[in-house]
Amino acid sequence: MKRAGLILLLAVWLVLTRHRVEDWTSNLRLWRSAVRVTPCLPRVHANLSLALRPIDPIASSRELATAKAIAEEHQCVVLR
């Protein structure tokens, strides 16, 4: 019973790993997922802005503006 539970747990981990690996297929996906998890961190918005710049300059500017707004609010640094 205990081993069956462990095998089920391992199967869940496998699915979650596969799901997470998808985020690592491009900078855009990686930083989009980061913004979902840590929306109050200016650095992730700034990095998403960089990833968006070649494909969607308007969305890129919006993300950069968000990063600056959060940074000013928290008086911290925007970029790594």
Binding site: L16, T17, T25, N27, T38
Partner: protein
């Protein structure tokens, strides 16, 4: 479980399928590019004995396969975890058996023969829990950052060498231990980890420890001088340790519930109470696990491995806190714990 190698190969197949999306056509993702230009000139790297850098240079020379190499090293580490966990489970079983036998007085020769026979049979039976530990190490979602992020090649290779140092005969263990330290600064804990998992070995093995200690001191006297960024944190010693403890709690929570993974955790907006409580909670947990070391020796061993593997993060005040890829080596301790639960 007579054929652990076959099961391990099946697990490698699962790992390759899980990491399939990054194996084709994925370029540099969120990379520190400081090493990217250097790997094309491998000759200049020779004096550093940095095997991770060499492996990246080899990828450059072969014209690719960067991510595939990461996944293959991860699979290899899974096998080393299997070997180590089986050995540790068997050691714990033998210690329990000896304690029980000695409690009844000195065992007779026939009893000793029977115990040795039982030990061989138990070694076979320990294969399944050790494979469960191997699967936990290979499949846990927190490992994705270390495997998918190319700059984590250092984590992967230094962990390979750490594990090799733990399971290999002593001359090879010494070489692997020194190479682990030359590959990544945080592998300086190799001496302590070896004492933890090989401390009861024959005296020949113990010669490795002072040799590694001298090597570590020599290497780090040189390395810390060359890498001043390692001590550039804006926080003071105590606040840095407290925030690092918060980060460790967050990572341990992610190990238990691997949901909410991110490449950049928010350590800026941490509530003051969490910073204040993190170190006392960590110390309290250590004391509690220590008190149970007689009844739960594998829990104690796992906790020691996790904390020792993370200890350099407290000593070296780098301008970053523990992130998911830093959990790669500590996950060996988690795998041991999962393996111990998998015993019948």
């Amino acid at each position: 479980m007579r054929r652990p190698a076959v099961t391990w190969l099946l697990l490698c197949g699962l790992v390759l399928s899980a990491y399939g999306p990054i194996l084709h056509g994925v370029g540099l993702i969120y990379e520190d590019t400081h090493w990217w230009s250097e790997i094309w000139t491998p000759v200049t790297l020779a004096p550093t004995w940095d095997l991770a850098h060499w492996s990246l240079s080899l990828n450059a020379w072969l014209g690719g396969g960067f991510h595939l190499t990461n996944v293959l090293i991860h699979c290899l580490n899974g096998w080393l975890v299997f070997v180590l966990v089986r050995r540790l489970l068997l050691r714990e079983w033998s210690a329990r058996r000896w304690r029980a036998a000695m409690g009844l007085g000195l065992p007779a020769a026939e009893d000793l023969t029977e115990m040795l026979h039982d030990q061989a049979a138990e070694g076979e039976r320990m294969a399944l829990p050790a494979l469960i530990a191997c699967a936990a190490f290979l499949l846990h979602p927190i490992q994705t950052e270390a495997v998918a992020y190319l700059s984590s090649r250092w984590e992967l290779v230094s962990t390979s060498l750490l594990l090799l140092a733990c399971v290999a005969p002593w001359p090879l263990a010494l070489i692997a231990g020194v190479l682990a330290m030359t590959t990544k600064a945080s592998a300086m804990v190799v001496v302590l980890l070896l004492i933890l998992v090989r401390g009861d070995s024959v005296w020949g093995d113990l010669l490795v420890f002072p040799a590694l200690l001298v090597s570590a001191m020599t290497l780090y006297a040189d390395r810390f001088g060359r890498l001043p960024y390692l001590f550039l944190s804006p926080y003071g010693i105590i606040e840095y340790a407290a925030r690092q403890a918060v980060a460790i709690w967050r990572m341990l929570a992610l190990v238990v519930v691997p949901w909410g993974q991110t490449v950049d955790h928010d350590w800026i907006n941490v509530p003051g109470w969490a910073v204040a409580l993190a170190i006392p909670a960590l110390l309290g947990s250590i004391v509690e696990v220590y008190r149970r070391r007689q009844t739960h020796p594998l829990l104690w061993l796992s906790a020691c491995w996790i904390l020792l593997a993370l200890a350099p993060r407290f000593v070296i005040r780098a301008p970053e806190f523990v992130s998911e890829h830093h959990m790669y080596a500590p996950m060996v301790g988690v795998a041991l714990l999962v393996g111990s639960w998998g015993r019948s």
